[in-house]
Symmetry: C2
Subunit: 290 residues, 2 copies
């Protein structure tokens, strides 16, 4: 493992993930200074000690930086990335932290300067809230990181980025094709929320004579606790023993899933958010205290 000893690191986006990486770089002494830019959150991130300095603009943040981490929301990544590659030192190591890579690569295709030291990262660590107040210096520790370099990626950049993630405590750094990465993101980070909504969807439309109030607090820690170690035969026997109620629920679950698919196909983010928030509300009401 090469020693990572950076001069200035720039963070574009200092929400929960960005600020966590700022805190991690600082606490491990991996950069001489961490400069963050975020119109909404940089002041708070600085106040919490996750940055050495807040920059008023992207250009100011990346000037003189040897490393640039881009941690902005998915719709903004492509534009921010191109601006960073335009403003930063050509030798600077640049990575974005967004979980979805295919659309980003398609969006920036042909616009990335040749020889730019940009390699996309997808750290699999999970933040637990929004904004710099949810940041933790140990967030990346013990989690894998996926890199999705393209055929034009500068080989030295891939190595430098691997070393950086290892120095930040990643359990493993693995290269994946963007298609594989995006399926991984869908199946492990996004579909679980849809799966957890299935049961909630059934409880959201109870039959006459049953009230959600009756069930409040009885669900255990959450409706999504499904340890994969449970015996499948015993589980199936219980499903069959309860087939009438399960079928009743699954009918509503299937309808809910169809709603999710339709809103997704329409690109209707606010409609999707409404479906997911509704399911979360039911889950929280039915979830017990432990």
């Amino acid at each position: 493992v090469t020693e990572v000893a950076l001069g200035r690191a720039a963070l574009i986006g200092t929400g929960a993930l960005g600020a966590s990486l700022g805190a991690a770089l600082r606490s491990r002494g991996l950069a001489r200074a961490v400069v963050g830019h975020d119109p909404a959150a940089a002041a708070r991130a600085l106040e919490l000690g996750h940055l050495d300095r807040a920059a008023a603009s992207l250009a100011e943040a990346v000037a003189g930086a040897e490393l640039v981490l881009i941690a902005v929301p998915p719709p903004a990544v492509a534009e921010v990335l191109l601006e960073v590659l335009d403003r930063a030192d050509p030798a600077a190591l640049v990575t974005d932290l967004t979980s979805v890579k295919g659309p980003l690569l398609a969006e920036v295709e042909g616009a990335v300067p040749a020889g730019a030291a940009w390699v996309p990262s997808h750290p699999l660590c999970r933040t637990d809230g929004l904004g710099p107040d949810a940041a933790r210096a140990d967030l990346p520790v013990g989690w894998p990181v996926v890199l999705t370099p393209g055929p034009d990626s500068v080989p030295g950049a891939i190595e430098r980025l691997r070393d950086l993630w290892r120095a930040l405590g990643a359990s493993e750094v693995r290269q994946l094709d963007p298609v594989a990465n995006d399926l991984l993101a869908a199946a492990t980070r996004q579909l679980p929320h849809v799966g957890a909504g299935l049961a909630a969807a059934a409880l959201d439309r109870l039959p006459a004579g049953v009230s959600l109030l009756d069930l409040e607090g009885l669900g255990g820690p959450s409706l999504s606790a499904a340890p994969p170690g449970l015996d499948a035969s015993a589980l199936a026997a219980h499903l069959v023993a309860n087939r009438e109620a399960v079928a009743w629920c699954l009918e509503r679950s299937a309808a809910w899933l169809e709603d999710v698919r339709e809103r997704l196909a329409a690109g209707d983010a606010s409609g999707l958010a409404e479906l997911l928030a509704g399911a979360q509300r039911v889950r929280r009401r039915v979830a017990g205290r432990r």
Copy 2:
């Protein structure tokens, strides 16, 4: 709270749940003796100290018992219950621990002796494996218990059973209609496994060029981690950002859900077990170490 001080307690079925209750009764000194009957598991439960004695027959176990707990698999409950009510002292408090009540009540309708002190229980605590080796004396502690007494239930019996569960550490004892109880069981204990299978189903049939091997170990603790506190708008934005991969997965998820519904409608427990076991295998392969 009335003091619970029992003479002999009988356990019919000494698997993970039954043996846990045996251990709980013993460790809290709630019964003078705990006698278990289980052709397969009683010897091991006795060896582990979860029973005072193993009885060779149901009749021997319930003779002289003041409390009978029935913890046998769902398909056997009705028959065992009627035999217990036939053999036990009419004053003995009898409860079954199966999670699904409607089908059981329908099955025993008209066959329960008038005045029998039988009240169905549905403890919401979750066992973590099968058999007496998975038993823990503190299993019921902190979990709610649902009772589904019928109109004929002896009122004194309901009170005695409430007191027993409280003495065993239940966080709450609530009476529910059997229909409400069965929907609760479906939505909180059974559907989460179906929901968790959704994502796994997608990963089970990856597109050409992507191998499950590439994704092995990258999924985090499990594919079903979906904290209900995550911001729904941020979540929806991620789903839309990854819409192609998510839609690809959801198409397979919906097909898997349809398979589940068909096998359930056919009462095909072994077919269902196969679907659930397949999903669990994928989840374990993709799940990371932490």
